[in-house]
Symmetry: D2
Subunit: 352 residues, 4 copies
């Protein structure tokens, strides 16, 4: 309103849940203008043909993905593509001085051999990947501010790391005892027609999957190792929950000091996240529900100590598509542009 | 249990929801033995590879669909295939004296021009189609008993016709005022990976579809016309409801005699369905919930008269995959074999 | 932001879903300041004790309900109370020149004998009730602008009337043929611990209720009669749907002119709602889903004509707690204060 | 069918989910006849007034709870009451030589001081409690066969103990590393009108509760200690999942022998449960879904070893109201009566 100029922004991969979430959030952002939507499979269609409820609000077509043209029109580009594609596009965009925020796994790893081991794809963009910053603002705020390329984490690493970080950073737990039992709604699987994500299959059912081999494991371990100061192996188990949105991580670890009580940990977490406007540490005795976070960029964290077992139990709840995906990418953009970290992001969802 | 012999039965199209439901129900049926499962897309696989929870219970492979071989092994064949395929297989099975129960639309129409108009497929099996009986036992019990070929109705016609039949048969309503507002869970769409049936899309949402052009309309009209004694046009509107199972039809019609009250209609319905063990007419003031019928072959019917408007409102609730599909087919088989109509079928589901 | 003064606003009945929705929406409204929350059953508690996710965002206690004190602190008061209580409080607030927006049924009726007939409560505030305006802005925008007391409609009348109004106003249908088959999520029942609203009971089930005697019937008839210019009786049937939010009204009526086609009606509806920013008429062939409206103040309307039956079918989808309750009240407030009708209200929800 | 006599059975506390589930299951049991339903809060009502879908099937009233009269009519009595009531009734029934199966916590503890510590109720029936057997047939088959009084475990202990028992019994894990992350549908909370169990609150949300202090913890520890041969403390965390039925326990523990692989454990579990017809150990690489067990008395167990961490992860899925409650009680009855352990119990649910 009265601004001379908004920053022109584009999205490659606009038709999936990550893309449409970015579209929706960027429409409310006061400093940017959405000028480009791209996608291979739906080129030439309007976004409204895929999401009719947006017909009155979004008037952009889905265009072909040509990096030169994108770079000529956008200062900032979000990449919301399957793994292995961003690394083919990002270098060209960076060369043209675009800021790039990638929502895939391509730029989350400081060591590309880990990427290749878990994702099965050879990479030859080591120099560029080395400049990428892991897009978890609560841990890497300063580095994000100065980066041109961000590898944004998804819902499981976000929920898991926000729960574990204070414990590891302060050396409060025996690291190898850490177990993350994570649960997520089915939108986590994207807008892909898969039988196991059908309502008829997934509703009123619950199961674990990919135990010991989920691809989010190595990035959780990478960041945990960074915080702990030495290499760590973490137990991570995801579950598919019969709900649309929301991720809950329930984290278990043995305390080094068995005398710590719940309120000590609440104090420690509040201090750790003092400058993190999107983290809300729950009051003593309150455990977070995923619905609280739905529709917002918030992460609610609850803490418990079990004196019988000497363990701390941390729960973190986020909206998997906002703080766990598109909202977090915009939070990173805010930092990169030196805007307020909360700018244009939803501060509260609607309950119930 | 001491029986000399069970009737050998086969299912063509065993991997979808209709097929697996037949498998499950036939396992409990005391007079049949399931000896053959067939399917094109999964030939050679075990059923357990598609439905792991059945691994300990079903040991049959999915075989190629060769009518000669099927007929040599089965006395009864259920066809659970997409529309347009049964009419290619059934004639060969009938020729070999199999009894055939088709769950598709292929044999539901007495006039194949209606079929072709709504389904777009030319047919050249008029002689055979003319022998088919519409598999709604509550209306056509006697004809089913003597038939060799049954065209079994699906969930919408079953729920709609069970609600409407007494009114039309007794001439209680002005037929052209009949409106069927029907609602069904997403399993009605089958085990097909479609975006609109994903939990993330369909959960917590509700919409109508195919208004005025749903393919179940002409078969509802065919039976209604048969009952009324003249050609009728019926308003039928289906809705997709965020639940796995269940169909509810809410039927509106103007009463010819505005003096009829709710209890009159309850009496009339109880009389009409006196010999129909699967129909339960609710007590005065009770409206049926779909969950009551889930897991059973029951149809619950509730009745209301609105004296302000002179309309009757009838609600019928069924499990779309049992009374609305596989269970009803077995009910028909029971009649064809001169067994008790309730034999081997679930008489109550589990609540809640 | 730089405003000299925000309008002080209060909510009586803040702890229910209507109340907490008002709290949430008013937090985002740029022209008001929430200064008072009242409630009988939770007096003295903080709102955060009832809704822990708001602990960081709302710092107001729930106070006793004393009209004198409320009026001294608030210029605008929302009443979100059970039926029969607002009419005891509103007169005192109006006397002190507060603007009052009532979310209950107390001030929705131009004829209080209708209220008494359906709600069973005698009323002696006829003079005040006569000044109340029915808070459906799309129909009564001008009168709302000049009113001091608004009787805001709930989700069923809102969805039903927005679907029916153009037809009745333009005389396009035979009025007595109108049938409203309405469906709503369970939040419609409020935050009350009732067995039938438990997840274990209501999930994966569907049923009609209160047929011919739902209390929203007379207000729907009152407004329809006003539009048609003569007394009407309308068939209205609500259903409880296994979802949290959302109301869908499927409306059937016989067209006077059987030559009208779908696109004619889309043109008529677009013209009727030309100045109504919250109404979105769907493109030809698109039917609205409740999820599209969830989290916004929008109403999506879809239209179909069935030339076989001569009927029009109109579907309207809203968020029952926003356009069907709290959002609509704020929309009315915007008009009363001469602010933009869309001010401070959510323009799009998050999908999926 | 031709039996001279069925065993007369009664249920005290018939109106809750446990009670109605017992009613439903016992209706299908070939050796018993349900002759008595009792309950304090609904005395004099018919069961059908609480569960209208049973109107055609159950014709028993809910009678007052008078142990003398119950004992005169029933040989077997199921008690499905809130904790602390069974211990007032059971002694009188036992004295009259009834067999008693209690679904509450009253008779689950070999040491009543544990009961009093966790449930806050003093007990003076130590002699009788000492005769009670813990009703988990897979562990205590022989003792159950000879018992007159059974304390049946609920869903969490059942799922947890079936997952953990082979590991503890064989000494395969470091016991104090065992963590049970359990998840259950909301029917687990019973048919009680509680705000947190409303669909509007619980649907599309997920949270942990009662961490470190859930009352099922001490009975899990009691049995684990029994199996391990020494006192154990176990970490147990329940979560409320947005679904009606189903319990999944995800169990983590560190293997003593890091060389054990998944298939070793599958072999061990299959051996352990060789004579347990209700336990199905999944094939290698298959993890159980709660929906598989819904509507049956089955427990599906899946196994995984994470060689990176040296942990075993065991998942067990049951229907919380059948194998986790009423079905298991009937399984115990079958043993007590020397009937086949599977008699009258549902062997497969309906999928999906």
């Amino acid at each position: 309103m009265g601004k001379l100029r908004r920053v022109p922004v584009g999205i490659v991969g606009a038709s999936g849940y990550g893309g449409v979430q970015l579209v929706r959030l960027l429409m409310d952002h006061p400093e940017v203008e959405l000028v480009y939507l791209g996608g291979e499979s739906n080129t030439g269609k309007s976004l409204a043909s895929l999401y009719p409820h947006l017909a009155h609000a979004v008037n952009l077509p889905i265009e072909a993905v040509e990096p030169e043209i994108i770079a000529s029109r956008c200062e900032v580009v979000f990449l919301s593509l399957p793994n292995g594609l961003a690394c083919q596009i990002a270098p060209k965009l960076l060369e043209k001085e675009c800021k790039v925020l990638d929502l895939s796994a391509d730029y989350r790893f400081s060591d590309l051999t880990t990427y290749t081991a878990w994702y099965g794809t050879q990479r030859n963009d080591h120099a560029i990947a080395a400049t990428a910053v892991y897009g978890l603002p609560e841990l890497y705020r300063d580095r994000i501010s100065e980066a041109q390329l961000i590898g944004c984490p998804g819902c499981y690493p976000t929920a898991s790391l926000l729960a574990l970080s204070p414990l590891l950073k302060q050396g409060l737990i025996v690291p190898e005892t850490a177990i993350i039992d994570a649960k997520s709604g089915t939108s986590d699987g994207g807008r892909q027609a898969k039988v196991n994500l059908l309502l008829a299959e997934a509703d009123n059912s619950l199961a674990a999957y990919s135990i010991g081999r989920h691809r989010h494991t190595p990035e959780i371990e990478q960041i945990c190792s960074d915080l702990a100061g030495h290499e760590l192996t973490i137990q991570f188990t995801p579950h598919l929950v019969p709900m649309v949105r929301g991720t809950l991580a329930t984290v278990y670890a043995t305390l080094r000091d068995p005398g710590l009580v719940r309120d000590d940990l609440i104090t420690i977490y509040n201090a750790f996240y003092r400058n993190s406007p999107w983290i809300k540490v729950c009051d003593s005795g309150i455990y977070p529900q995923t619905k609280w976070a739905t529709g917002s960029n918030l992460c609610y964290i609850g803490l418990e100590v079990d004196p019988r077992t000497g363990r701390v139990i941390v729960m973190s709840a986020i909206d998997n598509l906002i703080k766990g995906q598109a909202g977090q990418a915009i939070q990173c953009l805010n930092l990169m542009m030196d805007w307020d970290e909360t700018l244009g992001l939803p501060k509260l969802g609607f309950y119930p």
